[in-house]
């Protein structure tokens, strides 16, 4: 029997960057293959060659043993290859079904028949969408579902998913995996990119590993373990334990009382949130996506209009400074140092068209007198981040937009930590980061904590929250469900608090 797809010796270069250097890969029907590799190791690039976005410079692609050439996404469709990218290309004002047939020939314009066929696909694999619903009413996970159904509708038998779980809650991930298993049973070949080793172990049959653009090898999932995979990926043994030292004499740093945020629709995004963040502590924030995490961090940084409540920043001398009602500029002018790693990296934290130097300057461009900005310091800082965090980029002037997802995040985190802020706020700091880099980030956050910063870590992986944080604040629908000691709690308890205010025994702190 032939493989569904076989890649032989694929090479892809971008100018001087060799993104793929002699990659071999095989995938069979009825199989889930995970593609694993550090940030910038060339996973997305390789898959883009299967979906017709790039063409390989060297090497062959074989389908069922016959050589094919995929020169456009349309070619890919005709070979039954469908890719779900990290960014979705849906038309907001169209319904699910309309989006699914978008770009197809006119033969299929009978919308009722389309709806039926979509429902049929949904039932077959266990998707849960309403074909008549408009996209702007949908959550991220529903949009992702549409993208998958769209590929199936077009008859894809080889499905590629690029980091689909990065934007999903644990529950949604479980649902997705159930669907993937159904598709596997139906004989589809599935290639999945993810950085989460637990997911790799959970869902895959085989794992192919890339390192720095080179092919390392393929292993059967049931013959390996997370440690083994990490070692192959990184090239040397790494420790998968998070160090959690205790800081002596923590003091209050941020005192938040009755913080309430009402959005333009009159809905309370935050509802009388009260808590204290201390120096030398990582305060985790857990919650289902959209429970007010974004509003909480943005209120503290002065980006969000606050309807009610107070946020006090406590100076080392014990005096409190009120932050509510101040703009980000005013907050930094009165000497309150704050680092903030927002969720939307390119849309909010960085300037995609500029290089690392100018992105470092986003924090310091106002420094110094006169009308000219100073480039020397940001340049040094960029070089430091480049070296210390092992950012993969040809130069510090290379536009960050063109870097791989993980490297973009390193630039952002590197900048925010560089100023040694007394308060460090992070939203999904390791989303899309490979294991090695994630641990590097955990260590950096812990280092900041031991330097006496008050660190807030909004996260989605409960295991990490439990291992990394000192206390965990659980949000549920904009309310504080409880604040627990991370050393003495369980995943189950937090999971329960995420869905029920107060959890099992009511809030304790």
């Amino acid at each position: 029997m032939h493989n569904a797809i076989e890649l032989k010796n694929i090479v892809k270069r971008f100018g001087k960057v060799v993104a793929n250097d002699g990659i071999n890969l095989e995938i069979n029907y009825g199989e889930i293959l995970c593609l694993l590799g550090e940030n910038g190791s060339g996973k997305t690039t390789l898959m883009n060659m299967l979906s017709g976005i790039y063409q390989p410079d060297e090497g062959e692609i074989l389908k069922k043993g016959e050589q094919i050439s995929i020169r456009s996404p349309r070619d890919a469709y005709s070979y039954g290859i469908g890719m779900i990218h990290q960014h979705y290309h849906l038309v907001d004002v169209f319904t699910a079904a309309q989006n699914i047939i978008l770009g197809l020939e006119k033969e299929k314009m009978d919308i009722a028949a389309v709806n039926d066929k979509v429902l049929e696909i949904c039932n077959k694999y266990g998707f849960d969408i309403d074909p008549k619903k408009k996209v702007y009413d949908m959550s991220v996970s529903q949009k992702q579902t549409i993208e998958i159904v769209k590929q199936l509708y077009r008859g894809a038998e080889i499905l590629i998913l690029d980091e689909p779980t990065a934007v999903l809650t644990p529950q949604e991930t479980d649902k997705l995996f159930k669907v993937l298993r159904n598709m596997k049973k139906d004989g589809k070949a599935i290639i999945l990119i993810t950085h989460k080793l637990a997911e790799v172990m959970d869902v895959s049959d085989k794992v192919a590993i890339l390192r720095k653009g080179k092919y390392v090898g393929t292993v059967n999932t049931n013959e390996t373990n997370p440690q083994g995979l990490t070692d192959m990926m990184v090239g040397h043994a790494v420790s998968l334990n998070i160090d959690r030292p205790v800081y002596e004499n923590p003091t209050d740093k941020l005192v938040v009382k009755d913080l309430t945020v009402i959005d333009s629709d009159g809905i309370a995004r935050l509802d009388h949130v009260t808590f204290t963040a201390k120096t030398g502590e990582i305060l985790g924030v857990a919650g289902i996506a959209g429970s007010g995490q974004k509003e909480l961090l943005e209120s503290i940084t002065g980006l969000q209009h606050v309807s009610e409540g107070t946020i006090q920043f406590i100076n080392p001398d014990g005096k409190g400074i009120e932050l509510v009602g101040k703009t980000p500029i005013q907050i930094s002018k009165i000497g309150v140092g704050m680092g903030f790693v927002p969720e939307d990296r390119l849309g909010m934290g960085l300037v995609g068209s500029m290089g690392m130097t100018y992105n470092m300057m986003l924090r310091s461009w106002k420094n110094g007198k006169g009308i000219f900005f100073k480039k020397k310091e940001p340049e040094e800082q960029a070089n430091k981040v480049w070296k210390n965090l092992e950012v993969v980029t040809p130069s510090i002037d290379f536009p960050v937009r063109k870097m791989s997802g993980g490297n973009i995040q390193k630039v952002l985190v590197g900048r925010e930590i560089a100023s040694r802020p007394p308060v460090l706020l992070t939203a999904y700091a390791v989303r899309g980061l490979d294991i090695n880099t994630s641990y590097a980030i955990y260590n950096l956050l812990t280092r900041e904590k031991m330097n006496g910063s008050a660190v807030m870590y909004v996260g989605e992986e409960l295991d990490v929250l439990l291992e990394l944080c000192d206390r965990i604040l659980v949000l549920c629908g904009g309310k504080v469900s409880g604040i627990v000691d991370a050393r003495n709690t369980t995943k189950e308890e937090i999971g329960f608090m995420m869905t029920t205010v107060g959890g099992l025994k009511g809030g304790n702190s």
Binding site: F14, G15, Y54, Q55, K63, K64, E66, Q67, I68, S69, R71, S72, D75, S78, Y79, L303, T327, P328, I329, S332, F340, P342, D344, L346, G347, M348, G349, L350, V351, G352, S353, M354, Y358, M361, L362, R363, W365, K366, I371, F372, F373
Partner: protein
């Protein structure tokens, strides 16, 4: 296996392109334009090579022609510099026409009211320059303010402001500032309100060259220039970095409008010697092409502004020398613009032809 139907020619986004190749494409596109431009000339029954010689000769052949060409290039360059920061910010200011006109009105006010009092030329020039800058800045500020406050569409807004400014000049021409009653003409300014010539062209060329350097420094080395660039990429990032987006928009429009206003002053005080409703004469629109083709690079703008001025002046000569109607001259310059814009497309995309062998696969 399924039959694949690959089209004969396909487009693909270029991953990256080296600078030399990009410039080769740019120069190639000018050649293509010149070849295409021959068609209408042939259709008019003239020899295209002779015609091109006339264009070159008519714009650069004599010192006097060169002066006239430079005179055309001055406002183009000045206004392209003015709108560069707006475009960098993705604020589509197509109201340069109106801002020039408003600057011209304010400067003319000084010329008409204070000129006869016999103030020295230097004082007059400074006062008129300031007045022009204020007029243009005011006209630029209004749409900037509404965009920042109420998020109005700046394209429509700036466009409408053009017509208002031109209407005001018409009113002044026919009413308060009219010279001999019934002429609808504003008299020539007194000589102390006129810019002197340097090397045969009014000294505006020195002023715009200085502005090239100023705008280049402003855009690349100042805090304000950095703010503009960040907003152009992402407004949210700008807010995150503590920038006051609304104020920066208004400030940039003030800056841009002021430069347009200064150009307006140079036009009335240097090029024309008086004010009329056609003072901007489409410069505000052509300058958008200049800014865009030069990729918002101030120094490249000098070359592009000169090129467009050469075509403009040369075609005018062509029309008088040969039996080629003005419209043909327009077609030639239009073709050139089209080809140069298309070439930016080919710098970003490449064509892939279907190979015979692969087509059979």
């Amino acid at each position: 296996m399924k039959e694949v139907k690959t089209p004969l020619i396909r487009l693909a986004k270029r991953a990256d392109i080296d600078k030399r190749k990009a410039w080769a494409i740019r120069i190639g596109s000018i050649l293509v334009a010149l070849i295409l431009g021959m068609i209408p000339i042939l259709m008019a029954g003239e020899n295209p090579f002779v015609s091109y010689m006339i264009i070159i000769q008519g714009s650069l052949g004599k010192a006097g022609y060169i002066r006239q060409t430079v005179k055309r290039a001055i406002p183009l360059l000045g206004v392209a510099l003015a709108i560069a920061p707006c475009f960098k910010m993705r604020f589509w200011n197509i109201g340069a026409e109106g801002q020039i006109t408003m600057g011209a009105i304010f400067a003319s006010f000084i010329a008409i009211k204070l000129g006869p009092s016999g103030l020295p030329l230097v004082v007059m020039a400074i006062l008129m320059c300031i007045a022009g800058a204020l007029g243009g800045a005011f006209w630029g500020f209004v749409p900037g303010f509404f965009k920042a406050r109420y998020n109005t569409n700046e394209t429509l807004f700036t466009l409408m402001m053009n017509y208002i400014a031109i209407g005001i000049v018409r009113y002044l021409q026919g009413g308060p500032w009219e010279g001999r009653p019934g002429t609808q003409i504003i008299p020539m300014f007194t000589s102390n309100a006129r810019l002197p010539n340097v090397l045969g062209v009014y000294c505006g060329w020195i002023i715009v060259l200085v502005m090239v350097v100023i705008v280049h420094i402003y855009m690349n080395y100042t805090k304000q220039g950095f703010e503009v660039a960040v907003i152009g990429d992402s407004e949210n990032t700008a807010r995150y970095a503590g920038m006051n987006v609304g104020w920066i928009m208004m400030r940039t429009m003030l800056f841009s409008g002021a430069i347009c206003g200064v150009v307006g002053w140079m036009l009335v005080s240097g090029a024309n010697g008086t004010l009329n409703s056609d003072v901007a004469g489409g410069v505000g629109f052509t300058a958008i092409t200049v800014a865009w083709l030069s990729q918002l690079n101030s120094f490249a703008m000098i070359a592009i502004a000169m090129l467009l001025a050469i075509i403009g002046k040369g075609s005018a000569t062509l029309q008088t020398r040969l039996n080629i109607p003005a419209s043909v001259a327009d077609i030639i310059s239009g073709t050139l613009l089209f080809c140069m814009l298309a070439c930016e497309f080919f710098i970003n995309y490449k064509l892939i032809f279907r190979h015979k062998k692969e087509a059979e696969v």
